[in-house]
């Protein structure tokens, strides 16, 4: 899979768009695996650690952090896609549009005027979009931030020449494997596990906190029934809508759920 000629090792790039850089930080923070990784691949581009390569640099694996929010982003992303063998999204922003996609239903021009002294200098799209809305994505790694274990597993699979295994099951499955009692059942806690994709190892419910939807929608979710259940625990319809409208608010299954329970487009109240 080595597409570049000058290096014997597969080449990896990590690109940033609109994001908090948390996924890149998680990546940098992986510990000794990072040393092992650099023996296997060349990280040719990662601004966070000071490696800067031009966008038309040919790479084998490109990870994309962040969402697409400006016309310039679109151009840059297209170049990256054209020059990358595999393109993977890392994290909620790249995969669904991120928390910043909450603005998708707001009046961007109005917001711009209220925030910036000279809005005419700002060139921005009216939405924060997932990478897949603009280019073909080969594999999606969800999470806020992304799970480094999943990133490494994806790289390992691609090096072996097989597609990464990506599970879409619910957080509940992992929660139960950890031997937890369900906090929704024992405490009426509004845990989003039954609609959220696995990946975190059921981190929050294991410590008694309700799941926040970091990994986006799981497969076959039943948002209508689940939302009604949350209302049975005492949440208002608006609170249910807000539960779905978190870091993955623009993931289709969650934005539909948000609309269902808010009764109107988000952010208009």
């Amino acid at each position: 899979m080595n597409t570049a000629t000058q290096s014997p090792k597969p080449r990896v790039a990590i690109h940033k768009f609109a994001s908090c850089s948390g996924c890149q930080l998680a990546f940098v923070n992986m510990g000794t695996d990072l040393i092992e990784l650099t023996k296997l691949v060349d990280i040719v581009h990662m601004v966070e650690v000071g490696h800067v390569a031009p966008e038309d640099e040919q790479v084998d694996i490109a990870f994309i952090e962040g969402s697409i929010t400006t016309p310039h982003d679109v151009e840059r992303l297209k170049k990256i896609r054209a020059n990358s063998h595999y393109l993977l999204t890392m994290g909620a922003c790249a995969t669904s549009g991120g928390i910043q996609a909450l603005r998708n239903n707001a009046d961007t021009a109005e917001w711009m005027r209220s925030v910036y002294a000279k809005p005419e200098y700002i060139e921005s799209l009216s939405t924060s979009a997932a990478i897949a809305n603009h280019v073909k994505v080969d594999f999606e790694l969800w999470g806020c931030p992304v799970s480094v274990r999943q990133m490494l597993a994806a790289i390992r699979s691609l090096l072996f020449g097989v597609p990464p295994v990506i599970s879409r099951e619910k957080v509940c499955q992992e929660c139960k494997r950890r031997g937890n009692n369900c906090i929704m059942i024992t405490q009426g806690s509004p845990c989003m596990g039954p609609v959220t994709r696995t990946g975190c190892g059921a981190l929050c419910p294991t410590f008694g906190a309700p799941c926040y939807t970091c990994y986006g929608p799981a497969e076959s979710i039943n948002a209508a029934s689940f939302g009604v259940r949350l209302m049975g625990l005492g949440l208002s319809a608006e609170q249910v809508a807000r539960k779905f409208a978190s870091v993955n608010n623009a993931a289709p299954a969650f934005s539909e759920a948000t609309q269902l329970f808010s009764g109107s487009a988000w952010m208009e109240e």
Binding site: L37, L152, A153, R156, R177, G179, C182
Partner: protein
Amino acid sequence: MNEMRYFPREKLATLIAAIKEAGYRVIGPRVEPGQGGLVYCEIAGAEDLPQGLSDEQSPGRYRLVPNGSKRYFAWANTASAIKPYVFVPRERLWSVVRKEGRLHFEPTHGQAEKTAIIGARACDLAALALQDAHFLRGKYVDTYYRARREKLLLVAVNCSHAASTCFCASTGDGPEVSGGYDILLDELDEGFIVRVGSSRGAMLMTDFPTTAATTEQIALACAQGEACRTAQTRRLPDEHLLPRLMQNLESPIWDDIAERCLACGNCTAVCPSCFCHREFDNPALNGKTTEHWRDADSCFSEDHSYLVGEVVREHTRARYRQWMTHKLATWVEQYGRTGCTGCGRCTTWCPAGIDFALEANRLLADEEGAR
């Protein structure tokens, strides 16, 4: 062997100490505040047991409530008991090392610890027998399961309290334990009636001081079992009717259930007889070694029915139908009885509050109406 003996409550600590002395790690129910309920985990002694608590269970709800008594076992059950200690929900099965161009396979030899489980109920023991029928079956014995199963010591307790979700009387599995234990307790206000059910149990009880249980004590124990049976309001349809579920696969009731079901698989995870699992590999980053793992799986996950490139049970309707028809109907062909022992966990721990026994009754009533 089944002589009924008696010991006062404070001696339970001594019994647990004797079990530890014999080299067992002791697993028992303990209040876990963060988890808001009881969890079977390693306990130091009787002081960790949930004294003076009862449970309130209903579809989708579980609460512990103080009952003012000194009893340790005045509750029905909790999310799990024996299952995770024999069918471990995640375990490494083997690993492979690449050396000199060859692959070397190394099994993870099940070095099971001697484990005692205190407080197993009738439904748990009946379900353990079902797990045995699956994992220890004929030529295809699961050696990982067997290693743990052989080291298991079971201290069972007859139920004196039924939750609203319990229906073991209708499946014939409870509330009294009928077998499969090493030591069996009946908890009374002042102490315990004790019986031994195996030579292992008898060994442990040899030096343990007991007195003969009085007729009065035995009558009290029988009465509380009887009260527990009559307190049960839910029931599964009669076993001979259950195969008819297979003639009702197109009932609109399956759609009605699927409208509520979250396909989260909590029901299968807490079910003491569910045994489905999947295997996966976890290669080291350097690509030189890999580990092969097993996870508990659920028929509510898409991967479970992924066959030759497609998900066979795409819709939740098909997944719920698979779960119920397997548990109540096709299980009989496989294992000679249904897979349900009436513990009610699937109902209590269902975030959508779907009532398994009620739905089974509705489906059969519908079938009778349709024909």
